[in-house]
């Protein structure tokens, strides 16, 4: 079946390619007219499109158009970004001298791509937000997700990694309107109507993107069936147009700088803190370093007593990045094209040392090249086709085989007192001279990772090929068309490692001499050796769509039906069933009926199958209904100060069939060697998430817009493990026990937006928009079996948000929450199940009053990792040739526990951060000093558990983006035959306000031993021809 389709599509595409060759005929001019704004200035880039969509033109810089209507349409739609849509009957089109477009103050103009079909924004019945590629391009970032932050209300992204060269799909966690099922949050991503491989999403450049939409409610996502439950992100790439060709050439230079530079304390202070920790552990005042040693470290004049700042030694303060590119677009009424080339050169974050004998340069950096070519061809009046070829190639170089963040994290294992980075020249002992120094327990010293490990070259390639045909079926009935397409998308990662090993040496205990180095473990210097690895996977999409768009007087219909079949292989390698191809099948129908452009009724249904379930339960239908009413258009509506009033409501079902990595949930899985794995449940079905959305859009005084959406998502057949009520002793591992279909949870919240939009004159306009989103979820049932009554909180999941944090509450009744004296410790009568508290340790609340602090006393605290509230403020000003805009974005109600480096002081023979400098000591306590940390320790103590001291509030407010741009005047442009030159300064992440206990950890990243977010200064130059 699939093969037959393959052949069919391939044949069609070959014909298509042959026909492309002879398609450069010019349409003849029929009329020449002008589109202007309210001030009479011509507008460039206005799309004039006939009712049936076959004839279109885009205005040139001087606002003129040249349109010949041949498809029998009765009217033409005129639209442009920032203006209201205008519908003009064809017979009037050529009569009017000027078309005047009204400014789109309340954002009701234009259209929105909903994945398979686009709708005018005015007719939207559901909840959708969108942003143009031009706005995203203000952020000088390599990874697409990072440009979306704060731009799309309802979409929350949390960076888990701050990386410049690694474009992994797990860099950011994304969710649309929070979490509605315990089984995942990942939205479906659709690029140009095709389900997109997760990796490619991060690689696509902002210059290729026309718009990004986020589909949030049931009416917008029901047609996506079982893939729609977590919402959909739709990316539309740029297309060619009938009009004067445009060429854009651009070049950017960015300066990247981490917003937090961790503190690396000096040797003497380090030694004192180690001694302090030893003293608190009862080992005496100078258990780690003698006073003499500390004095020598402090004096700093003896190379035997080093004071190394490893961070400054290896990490660059500023990293460079360049971007250059060119794109060209245009066409005729027969052939339209958009072509793009985008090149990024991302510099290395580390300082590399020139080593004499090295035969290679291990500078870790990356180049990314993006290409895209979108072509639309009209073969004749009935048949047209498209071909989109896009892709990216990333060439990355690594020092050794380590990813940059890996190298970075190793910095924190090195103490300032360590000698190095290389051992000195020791007479007669060549084998330990000038070798990489490390300490016991640290196998990967940073110097060696960077300079003596060889190098790796990684090539990541994404290729996206889409081709399809569209047949205008107007011979059957006007407005009907059918299209079919095939997309083949592959990802390949090829790595060539050219690695070598190197000798590590460790220094003996005696600090007074400099020749007591011994070889560490068994590594020795080796020659370079090669190895190669590769990962490959693909998505194959077969797709067909039928569309019917027509107006009959006051009535309008916009209907589509689609079907697609997706075959996909994932990155996984190995022998689990995750290597088998994934298959998906979906059918969907959407139909919108409009009356007088003010009443809208929409119905959607998806029907999709899932490999997860037994054939009897395999298919699921997901219907939704929605309606909208633009009250302000009614004749009886007489309130002048209300310029817009629109009410929206939707209700429907979306579905999810995923449950972590588990596959084929209905089947038993017994391996041929007799190993029993999963036991299936043939009665399972997809979980249905019922979504309701109520919205209102209110425009005031042609200036202000207020939007409010309330939503509620409910699921009562969530896929959950039955294991919560099954004891282990029955012998089937609980992870293999059959799943059930009876979990319940809810997710509700609202989106609020307030905007201001005003053109004061043709030369001065301004806008501001504030939006706030809240999504709170609660797990109502997950078959949890509660703990006994001895527990302060017998339930740990049911009744709480997904990922609720649990920890010990500190008893602050004495002021500082620590045992300040031996008497206080003894009088408390408390014992801890996780170690013995010392004087200076945290005093925890005994919530169940049994005098023992153990897991029975754990309490819910904070929120979960994923923020429940997000807000943003974007505003801007256009004045003459100047443009200014900024984006402030923040999250609230997000927390997690700080642990490891930066939080716990004992790791790797002492890792100290600002909070540890004023730890509890009897002296500080007696002196009444401010104490920022409990008593230090050389090893894990009762303080190092999840408690409300280490609970970090991950709220923040960031100035995400700031842009100042200047457009050069015409006098300059003429000299170089340019249509426009724009110079822009962009700043990303200029400042952050947060509430963290330590100032060296970014609240979004949440860890110290990884790259913190970058502040980026970028200067960009754009030439238009």
């Amino acid at each position: 079946m699939i093969i037959q389709r393959y052949i069919k599509y391939i044949a069609i595409n070959i014909v298509f390619l042959l026909m492309c060759v002879n398609l450069f005929a010019q349409g003849k001019a029929v009329s020449e007219n002008l589109v202007v704004n309210e001030y009479g200035s011509p507008i460039e880039g206005v799309m004039l499109i006939s009712e049936f969509g076959n004839d279109q033109f885009v205005t040139t810089k001087d606002g003129t158009y040249n349109l010949d209507i041949k498809d029998g349409s009765s009217y033409v739609t005129v639209s442009a970004a920032g203006f209201l849509n205008l519908r003009i009957p064809v017979d009037q089109l050529n009569k009017s001298e000027k078309i005047i477009l009204q400014f789109d103050v309340h954002k009701t103009g234009g259209s929105v791509n909903m994945g398979y079909d686009s709708y005018t924004r005015e007719s939207l019945t559901g909840a959708v937000s969108s942003v143009s590629g031009a706005v995203l391009d203000k952020s000088p970032k390599n990874i697409l997700s990072e440009t979306l932050v704060g731009r799309l209300p309802g979409l929350t992204t949390v960076s888990a990694l701050s990386e410049l060269t690694f474009f992994g799909y797990q860099n950011t966690n994304k969710a649309i309107r929070g979490i509605s099922t315990v089984n995942g949050t990942k939205p479906l991503i659709i690029i140009d109507g095709v389900v997109c491989p997760t990796q490619y999403f991060e690689f696509i450049s902002t210059k290729e993107i026309e718009s990004v939409s986020v589909l949030k409610d049931a009416s917008a996502t029901a047609a996506f069936g079982i893939q729609g439950a977590n919402g959909v992100i739709v990316i539309t790439t740029k297309r060619g147009f009938n009009g004067k060709k445009k060429v854009e050439v651009y070049a950017d230079q960015s300066f990247q700088q981490m917003i937090k530079k961790p503190q690396f304390i000096n040797s003497a202070r380090y030694a004192e803190l180690r001694n302090e920790a030893g003293e608190r552990d009862g080992l005496g005042a100078f258990s780690q370093f003698s006073q003499d040693q500390i004095d020598r470290y402090r004096a700093g004049d003896d190379i035997s007593y080093p004071n190394n700042n490893w961070y400054d030694m290896f990490v660059k303060d500023v990293i460079m990045r360049q971007r250059v590119g060119v794109n060209a677009s245009g066409g005729t009424d027969k052939f339209k094209y958009f072509s793009q080339l985008n090149v990024i050169n991302q510099g290395e974050p580390f300082k590399i040392v020139d080593e004499d004998n090295r035969k290679y340069t291990p500078n870790p950096h990356a180049n990314v090249v993006n290409v895209r070519s979108n072509m639309d061809v009209k073969f004749n009046d009935y048949v047209s086709g498209f071909m989109r070829l896009a892709g990216s190639v990333k060439r990355e170089k690594l020092a050794g085989s380590s990813m940059n963040w890996d190298i970075y994290s190793q910095l924190f294992n090195l103490n300032p007192t360590m000698y190095g980075p290389l051992s000195p020249t020791i007479d007669g002992k060549k084998d330990i001279s000038n070798q990489v120094v490390t300490v016991d327990g640290v196998d990967q010293p940073v110097y060696g990772m960077l300079n003596r490990s060889g190098y790796s070259q990684i090539i990541e390639t994404n290729v996206i090929a889409q081709a399809g045909l569209n047949i205008d079926m107007s011979f059957l009935t006007k407005g009907l068309s059918v299209s079919g397409a095939m997309a083949y998308q592959t990802y390949m990662r090829n790595s060539t490692s050219t690695l070598q090993d190197y000798t590590r040496v460790v220094r003996g205990k005696d600090n007074s001499v400099l020749d007591n180095f011994t070889k560490y473990k068994t590594w020795t210097n080796t020659a370079l050796t090669y190895s190669k690895g590769s990962v490959f996977f693909y998505y194959l999409d077969l797709f067909a769509n039928m569309e019917y768009k027509r107006r009959f007087g006051d009535h309008s219909i916009n209907a589509s039906a689609h079907t697609y079949y997706l075959l996909q292989e994932k990155e996984t390698v190995g022998s689990s069933n995750t290597v088998l191809p994934y298959k998906r099948q979906n059918f969907g129908v959407s139909a919108l009926y409009g009356y007088k452009d003010r009443y809208f009724l929409k119905g959607d249904i998806g029907y999709s199958g899932s490999e997860q379930f037994h054939p009897d339960h395999r298919y699921i239908a997901t219907p939704a209904v929605s309606a909208a009413w633009i009250a302000s258009k009614e004749d009886f509506f007489k309130l002048d100060f209300i310029s817009l009033l629109k009410l929206r409501a939707s209700y429907g079902i979306t579905a999810n069939d995923q449950m972590g990595d588990a596959r084929f949930l209905y089947l038993d899985n017994i391996r041929s060697n007799g190993t029993e794995l999963e036991r299936g449940n043939p009665d399972l079905a997809a979980e249905k998430i019922k979504k309701m959305n109520l919205g209102v859009d209110l425009g005031l005084l042609n200036m202000f817009t207020l939007g409010f959406d309330y939503f509620k998502n409910n699921v009562d057949n969530m896929l959950v493990n039955s294991s919560f009520t099954i004891p282990e002793y029955q012998g089937i591992p609980l992870s293999y026990y059959p799943k059930l279909n009876n979990g319940k949870m809810e997710n509700k919240g609202f989106e609020l937006s307030l905007s201001f939009n005003k053109h004061f004159s043709d030369k001065l306009s301004t806008f501001a928009e504030f939006s706030f989103t809240q999504a709170k979820n609660k797990v109502n049932s997950i078959n949890e079996s509660p703990y006994s009554d001895e527990y302060a909180y017998p339930y740990r999941t049911e009744g709480y948000r997904v990922g609720q944090l649990w920890g010990y509450k500190i008893d602050y009744s004495n002021g500082n929450g620590m045992f300040n004296s031996a008497e206080e410790l003894a009088n408390s009568g408390l014992t801890y199940s996780f170690g013995k508290p010392r004087v200076g340790d945290f005093k925890y609340q005994d919530l169940n009053n049994d005098k023992v602090i153990d897991s029975k006393d754990q309490a819910p605290m904070g929120y979960s990792y994923f923020p429940e509230q997000e807000y943003s403020l974007t505003a801007g000003l256009n004045w003459k040739r100047w443009e200014f805009s900024f984006l402030l974005q923040g999250v609230r109600h997000s927390s997690s526990f700080l642990s490891g480096v930066g939080a716990y002081e004992y790791g790797s023979q002492g890792q100290f951060n600002d909070i540890h400098l004023k730890a509890w000591t009897p002296e500080r306590y007696a002196a009444g000093e401010k104490i920022t940390y409990p008593a230090l320790s050389l090893s894990p103590s009762t303080n190092h558990v999840n408690n409300d001291f280490f609970l970090m509030d991950r709220s923040y407010l960031r100035l995400r983006n700031l842009e100042v741009a200047y457009n050069l005047p015409g006098s300059v442009l003429k000299k170089i035959h340019s249509e426009g030159i724009r110079i822009a300064l962009n700043i990303q992440n200029l400042f952050t306000i947060d509430n963290m206990r330590t100032k060296y950890v970014d609240p979004e990243i949440g860890r110290m031993n990884t790259f913190q977010p970058y502040r980026v200064y970028n200067i960009g130059l754009n030439f238009n021809f």
Binding site: M1, L480, S672, I732, P738, S833, K836, D854, S939, P940
Partner: protein, 605 residues
């Protein structure tokens, strides 16, 4: 308008019919149980799976530390500052939700964690096989009986593992259906569990096709009748012990079963390994055979060298010289791991068969700094403490003045202050002993970086241990003569004199307890012995709370002075009443308590 709708419907109808089987799973080798049983090769694979999840013990605990030894009074691990298994245990960082001894795994495949889950999984597989074996396809009909017998023995084996760690258990001799009612379930006594173990073992012993001994490498690690005998003996000894007997006296019953087991083992070719076959490696010490036995793998042949080992794991042994042997200042070593305590050294008698300390109260103070010397002992000299001792001491412990062969050179161990191997009390230094001693029992003499010899595969049961089981249960049941005979047989192998007939029952029991400690040191018995000898309300404060090292000072004239000190200024964790048994996993106990309305968790957790 209507025909539009028809066209749409036609379009959808066409698509619906196009790929009806598109979402079926590709054949990938996954199968249902019936398919397995219909294929004789796959049935054999199913039998192999009965041997999954056998813990590897020994050096396969977290980061190659013999944790069970390090957490009883025989050893102290220099991993005590590493924040990991033993460190958490020493700091009492234990709870029902997270217990280092139960939950720590380091991905080396040792199976030395998650005992509750793993053992129940294996018990179910054994029960399932017993239920299905009669309809399974067999390559050779004679296999059917043997396979069933193996399933019986392995079920007993995994029950024994569970009892050791957790005590009372629900007794299941069949698989639990998916729709089972768990509310009627309860924990039954250890005696009830022992009866099931004995019944399973008896079923296996009655099966003619189950061999007494494995004689080919290919079958290495499979269950035998000998294993059934060892399990029976051990299970009944546990059931009779004070911790588990619930106030009843099962010693006589345990004695009968133990006696029969030893008789059967001996009648079927099992005997102590008494003559060292490689004196060039193991030396001429009277205990050379003892050392060779534990260091070398048992061989599988019709006439094996080692006729003592009853069951050893199939998984290969581990290199240990660089991670759990001498460590300090030696080339190619990483850490010294767990070292013998002064308490273990004190347990070795002098060569005349007299204990060094008074076994009724070995230390006069709580912290073990004041040894209560046995007044009848005239050979022991506190100023020359390693002279005239049980030959097994030198085969177990490296002490000041011991000799080892390292990189073909003779090295004298110097644990005196300033010596190359002096102890370090810095918890961040894992290369040096905390006790002043190093371990050597499990390391073949001469093993080092240039002579890499594997540790022996873990020996779960050997006749020596079963004999000492018999000695203990016989003494407790009042069969004094047989108790002494069994213990003396073990002592004689290493050249130790017999226990005197003049010993009272209480004295004899103490001597046998001490004999177990000495003979079975580092073989993971002491941890469980100390616990089962306690009453349910008892604790380990006398043995495991304070532990001592010996600090040796070298005087100008070359002689030494020996000082005892506590290894840590703080009491070591793991001595409280609750530590007598591991906690059931918290979720499991909570779940069972809420389903059954009874208490499931072990006391104190």
């Amino acid at each position: 308008m209507k025909h539009i709708i028809y066209i749409f419907l036609l379009f959808i109808f066409f698509q619906l019919n196009s790929c009806t089987d598109a979402l079926d799973k590709a054949p990938d080798g996954n199968m249902q149980l019936d398919e397995v049983l219909s294929d004789a090769d796959k049935t054999e694979a199913l039998v192999n799976s009965l041997y999954s999840n056998i813990p590897r013990k020994g050096y396969m605990y977290f980061f190659f530390d013999p944790a069970v030894v390090a957490c009883c009074d025989d050893g102290w691990s220099s991993e005590d500052g590493a924040g990991q298994l033993v460190d958490q245990y020493y700091k009492d960082n234990t709870s029902a939700s997270n217990h280092p001894m139960r939950d720590f795994s380091d991905g080396h495949g040792g199976n030395n964690n998650a005992y509750w889950d793993r053992c129940w999984k294996q018990i179910r597989l054994c029960s399932q096989f017993l239920e299905l074996a009669d309809k399974a396809a067999m390559n050779d009909e004679a296999n059917r009986g043997r396979f069933k017998a193996e399933a019986h023995v392995m079920r007993a084996f995994f029950y024994m593992e569970l009892v050791k760690w957790f005590g009372k258990l629900p007794v299941l001799d069949a698989t639990v259906p998916f729709d089972a009612d768990f509310s009627k379930l309860s924990r039954q006594s250890v005696y009830d569990v022992a009866k099931l173990i004995v019944a399973d073992c008896d079923a296996a012993l009655g099966e003619s096709t189950l061999p007494w001994r494995i004689d080919t490498d290919g079958n290495g690690g499979r269950a035998t009748k000998a294993l059934a005998c060892a399990l029976k003996s051990e299970a009944m000894m546990f059931a009779a012990s004070p911790l588990h007997n619930e106030g009843k006296n099962y010693w006589e019953e345990a004695y009968q079963i133990s006696k029969e087991s030893v008789q059967q083992l001996k009648a079927n070719g099992y005997e102590l390994f008494t003559v060292c076959t490689q004196p060039n490696v193991f030396g001429k010490s009277p205990a050379a055979a003892f050392r060779q036995l534990v260091d070398q793998n048992a061989d599988y042949s019709g006439s094996p060298r080692d006729k003592e080992t009853i069951f050893q794991t199939r998984s290969g042994g581990l290199f240990v010289w660089h991670i759990g042997y001498i460590g300090s200042n030696m080339a190619n070593t990483y850490k010294c791991g767990t070292c013998p305590t002064q308490e273990l050294v004190d347990a070795f008698e002098t060569i005349d068969g007299k204990p060094v300390l008074d076994l009724t109260k070995p230390y006069l103070d709580e912290k073990h700094l004041d040894p209560n010397y046995n007044k009848a002992n005239t050979l022991y000299n506190p100023s020359d403490p390693y002279a005239n001792r049980d030959p097994r001491l030198d085969q177990t412990v490296l002490h000041n003045g011991s000799h080892i062969l390292w990189d073909n050179k003779d090295v004298t161990i110097q644990t005196y202050t300033g010596g190359a191997h002096a102890p370090s009390f810095d918890v961040t230094n894992r290369s040096f002993s905390r006790t002043g001693y190093y371990h050597c029992k499990m390391v073949t003499p001469g093993a080092c970086g240039t002579n890499q010899i594997n540790n022996s595969n873990w020996k779960f049961y050997r006749l020596g241990e079963t004999l000492l089981n018999l000695a203990e249960v016989a003494a407790n049941a009042g069969h004094m003569e047989e108790a002494r005979a069994a213990a003396n047989e073990v002592r004689a192998r290493s050249g130790m004199p017999t226990l005197l007939a003049s010993l009272s029952q209480e004295e004899l029991i103490l001597r046998i307890h001490n004999e177990r400690r000495v003979e079975l040191a580092w073989e993971e018995n002491r941890y469980f012995d100390l616990r089962r000898w306690q009453k349910p309300e008892g604790d380990l404060s006398e043995t495991c709370k304070w532990l001592t090292a010996t600090v040796i000072t070298k005087k100008a004239d070359g002689s030494f002075t020996y000082t005892r000190r506590n290894i840590s200024g703080n009491a070591r964790g793991g001595w409280q009443n609750k530590d007598l048994l591991l906690p059931l996993p918290l979720t499991e106990a909570s779940l069972l308590e809420s389903v059954t309305g009874q208490k499931w968790q072990n006391q104190g957790w």
